[in-house]
């Protein structure tokens, strides 16, 4: 295996921003490598609300961000239609909400030419029966929902087809400098312990909340504050449109629908470290309580998953609510800090990921003397064949159409056959053939159905052994880490039926198999 690689641009961070930069540069013909310490969307890109902001949320607090959102919202609806669901959005106030804020809202929207239409309350409640009978004002905006997994998978897959290399499980641990330049970057595979070194003309730090840590490795500084946000996914879809609470940003004031579910959140908690980013029972109860004042059904809805992400917010941060800190992005050319070939891009939003990538790629190209202009404003992001298993609903449809009886269903809840598993394992990069269940989970629907991985983890592990994708005692750690990944999202939502399901899971995996006694390999 080749342990030393060379490239024009090394991009660190497999979230939306890094993926966007990889695609942008690849479209301009620049040779690049994208590395990610875990797997795609391990950071905020896999733990956000999935709201393609119209900008209305920021009209009062941050009109510049609002404008960026407004423009990117329209662009992504055109350029990445397969990743976007054009739901439309509402801003809704209920009794007790600040009257002045409600009255000023349309004016703020007008200031930046943001379409915003007041609608009749009875009309709104007819269209969205889940709205509270205490609703006092409703405005319609151009919000939409966006699938962050599909978005990032598509960007990376497209970049790979254009020649970009993507490596999972590779963590940047050291920068080796000569003079004012980073010469090589040392990386470690966290599964195998193997090391690698990459030589690049330019290094892009797109590590989101970790940007400060990575900058520090390079001997420079980025000032970030961490704000944790927690979200809950409901078992069924609550509304057709995005629903925002018409008040200054606070807990649990946005509900975003997508496919067959809705997502309610968020909270905002200042964190000192990035180590323990998990939802808590207190946050869950708070979200349910607050959300219910806008949509009472949320009090009794069934929830299938809770998750938390961290917003890296720029600049030391003030006293007030972290949500009032700018959502703009920060593109830092570290030449000013004495490192000529190091660039950091952090902050921002999923909605503006393409713009962030464009600005970053512009800077990179100006450095390496590439004059090709940005293509991502024009070339649409077409769904790739490789990403189809991640799309909700694809597997069952495929199954009913294909009728291949030898192609056994390994995930019976989401109807994922063994051929899909085999295909996905084939996409794993050449340096990391290790067939991890979590990696398969990011690229398909396994574990996301009602068994939450209890049974499919066992069927898939057995299959991977049969196909020599797993050997010795790897299966035990695979099953354990897959179930633990699901567990993170279940733990705070365990009451009623889910408690029954996890008891069965524990009876099987601990009571019967004794997996808790087996050390991880």
């Amino acid at each position: 295996m080749e342990k030393n690689l060379k490239t024009q641009v090394l991009i660190i961070g497999g979230g939306a921003t890094g993926a966007g930069v990889a695609r942008d540069l690849s479209l301009r013909g620049v040779n690049c490598i994208l590395v990610e310490k875990k797997d795609i969307n391990a950071g905020a890109s896999g733990a956000n609300h999935g709201l393609l902001h119209s900008g209305a949320r920021y009209v009062s607090s941050d009109p510049e961000s609002a404008k960026e959102c407004r423009d990117e919202n329209r662009r992504l609806k055109q350029l990445a239609p397969d990743c976007v669901e054009e739901t439309g959005g509402l801003f809704v106030a209920v009794e007790g909400d600040d009257e002045k804020f409600i009255a000023d809202f349309p004016g703020y929207c007008d200031n930046i030419d943001l379409p915003c239409r007041q609608i009749d309350i009875s009309e709104a409640r007819e269209a969205e029966p889940a709205l509270s009978d205490k609703t006092i004002a409703v405005y319609e905006v151009e919000d939409a929902s966006i699938d962050p997994f599909k978005l990032v998978l598509e960007n990376i897959t497209d970049a790979q087809k254009l020649g970009c290399k993507f490596f999972r499980h590779l963590k940047v641990v050291k920068f080796n400098k000569t003079g004012n330049n980073i010469k090589t970057v040392n990386l470690v595979n966290k599964n195998t312990g193997e090391t690698m070194s990459i030589e690049a003309d330019i290094v892009v730090n797109a590590t989101g909340a970790w940007a400060g840590q990575v900058a520090a490795l390079a001997g420079t500084h980025i000032d970030l504050i961490y704000s944790k946000g927690t979200l809950l996914i409901t078992h069924s879809r609550i509304t057709q449109r995005v629903v925002n609470r018409l008040r200054p940003p606070a807990d649990a004031d946005i509900l975003v629908p997508g496919g067959t579910v809705s997502i309610i959140g968020t909270t905002s908690l200042r964190m000192e470290s990035l180590d323990e980013i998990k939802p808590t029972v207190a946050e869950v109860d708070r979200i349910v309580g607050e959300g219910a004042s806008m949509m009472p059904v949320l009090e009794t809805s069934r929830y299938i998953r809770a998750y938390s992400g961290v917003r890296p917010l720029l600049g030391g941060g003030g006293k007030g609510d972290d949500r009032s800190v700018t959502r703009g992005f920060d593109l830092v050319d570290h030449a000013k800090d004495g490192i000529e070939n190091f660039i950091t891009i952090t902050g921002g939003k999923l909605t503006t990921f393409r713009l962030m990538a464009e600005k970053t790629a512009d800077l990179v190209c100006s450095r390496i003397g590439v004059s090709a202009p940005c293509q991502t404003r024009k070339i649409p992001l077409i769904s790739a064949h490789e990403t189809r298993w991640a799309v909700p609903g694809f597997s069952p449809k495929n199954w009913f159409n294909s009728h291949d009886k030898d192609d056994l269903l390994l995930c019976e809840c989401e109807m994922v056959p063994q051929s899909a598993i085999e295909e996905i394992v084939g996409y794993f990069d050449i340096f990391d053939k290790h067939a991890d269940l979590n990696g398969i989970g990011k690229r398909s629907r396994i574990g996301k159905g009602s068994c939450q991985g209890n049974f499919c983890s066992l069927r898939i592990a057995a299959y991977l052994y049969d196909r020599d994708h797993l050997s010795s005692d790897q299966g035990v750690s695979e099953i354990k880490s897959f179930l633990n990944e699901r567990w993170k999202g279940q733990r705070c939502l365990l009451w009623d039926t889910p408690v029954v399901q996890v008891e069965l899971q524990e009876a099987m995996h601990c009571g019967f198999f004794g997996l808790e006694l087996n050390p991880d390999s």
Partner: protein, 440 residues
């Protein structure tokens, strides 16, 4: 209301899980007139292994060769554990008698005197248990003696990989090999289910075909392991015939739940218990329970799905063996854990935030597993002051507090022993209530 059928019973057992079944057996053995009610239970999910006591303290992952020493240590460390209410001689009698019963029910179990036995699980881990179904025994022996061994699996049978099992075991058992074959005599279906395979093997010709398919690869193997598919009704005949055909010891490895060993247990025990005179209302649910002024209980019975009352049972005493959340003996709401039938006090963590650890496999186990009914020495659920809530209500099995059968590896043992304790306490208290004013 006149068309609702009312019956009377001296003792009613709520639950048809391991604990309910054991209680029914001990009650019938003691000639107690018994009615038993329940829906599906953990039994059909069970592996067939009878754990007695395997791990303590769980946070140290300490496994024990001798279950009795483990119980001694457990009882001294955790005096509230249900085993502490029994003492070794009671637990021993309970286990011995139940094993005898399993023998009678033609589902014989093998036990090493005062010793746990290591057995193979479908994911290739090795587990310590106490009672081993006879059909799995040769696997335990082969594992212990490291005999040359062939593990066979089948195209189309999901979640059972001989390769996985042998890969996992190879470091400690070099003489183990995998073999994959096509299962004979099941039509062109490529998705195989253990029950369908087991039915097919009840037919002699199919066993001969299976033996033919394995024979060429038998090599030096002295033992042969197969997924648990060797018959449903006549597992012994199926296995012995194959042993005779192939000339090696044959054993089953349980498949993932719900598996045949669980189903076989359920069918055999049910048949045997009803044969002994227990009135079994299976697939029925107790909808509500009330105490009459004379102290007897009145239970309303309905279907599993509807809440329509179909039958009333009057009884002198109840053994509640409703299980935990899976069995529905306990219910966890967003704020609190409740016992839904009698609204008995449930010992539980103060706050939902404490129910579950952040790591699913945390060796300490989850605090919610310690929740349940607290009991007195007569196995009667107690109130906060430690007094029995009812003189004539007993509890047994996993519904009890201060135990974690999943982590301590004491599932079947706990159910059997506490059922024994509850029946014994019922007998000792010799509950007699006036029944004259009840209409039947």
């Amino acid at each position: 209301m006149t068309d609702i059928n009312k019956i009377y019973s001296e003792l009613t057992i709520i639950g048809t899980g391991m604990a309910g079944m054991a209680a029914a057996y001990f009650a019938s053995k003691n000639k107690i007139e018994t009615t038993q009610i329940g829906i599906n239970s953990g039994i059909i999910y069970s592996s067939g292994f009878f754990d007695l006591m395997g791990v303590h303290p769980i946070e140290d992952r300490k496994t024990w060769e001798n279950p009795w020493q483990a119980i001694d240590k457990l009882v001294s460390d955790i005096p509230d554990h249900p085993y502490a209410r029994l003492g070794r001689s009671n637990i021993e009698s309970a286990m011995d008698q139940f094993m005898e019963f399993m023998n009678e029910a033609e589902r014989p179990y093998m036990v090493r005197k005062n010793q746990n036995t290591k057995v193979i699980t479908p994911v290739g881990t090795v587990k310590s248990t106490y009672g081993v179904p006879r059909s799995m025994w040769a696997g335990a022996v082969a594992l212990k003696e490291k005999h040359p061994c062939l593990i066979v699996d089948f195209w189309g049978l999901k979640a059972f990989s001989a390769k996985q099992i042998t890969d996992m075991l190879m470091p400690r058992w070099p003489g183990i090999r995998p073999l994959r074959i096509s299962f004979p005599a099941v039509g062109p279906s490529s998705d195989l289910y253990p029950e369908q395979m087991a039915r097919s093997l009840e037919i002699e010709a199919n066993r001969i075909q299976l033996a033919e398919a394995i024979r060429p690869d038998l090599g030096d193997a002295a033992a042969l392991g197969l997924p648990a598919i060797l018959g449903i009704y006549k597992p012994r005949q199926v296995r012995e015939h194959l042993e005779e055909l192939l000339g090696v010891d044959i054993f089953e490895i349980p498949t993932i739940p719900p598996s045949l060993p669980g189903l076989r247990l359920k069918e055999a025990i049910e048949a045997k218990i009803t044969g002994r005179g227990v009135r079994l209302l299976s697939q029925k649910r107790v909808l509500s329970a009330a105490q009459n002024t004379d102290g007897t209980f009145e239970l309303s019975i309905g279907d599993r799905a509807t809440s329509e009352i179909q039958q009333i049972i009057g009884c002198n005493a109840v053994i509640l063996a409703g299980g935990r959340f899976l069995g529905m003996g306990l219910h966890a709401g967003r704020k609190k854990i409740r016992e839904p039938l009698f609204d008995l006090p449930v010992f539980q963590p103060e706050d939902r935030a404490l129910w579950h650890q952040t790591n699913f496999f945390d060796p300490r186990g989850h605090q919610i597993s310690q929740a349940g009914l607290e009991i007195d020495d007569s196995f009667r659920p107690t109130d906060l002051a430690g007094k029995p809530v009812y003189d004539n209500l007993f509890a047994a099995g996993s519904i009890l507090a201060h135990q974690d059968w999943m982590r301590q590896k004491c599932g079947a043992g706990l159910s059997i022993a506490t059922a024994y304790g509850a029946v014994k306490a019922f007998k000792k208290l010799n509950i007699e209530h006036p029944t004259s004013n009840i209409e039947f």
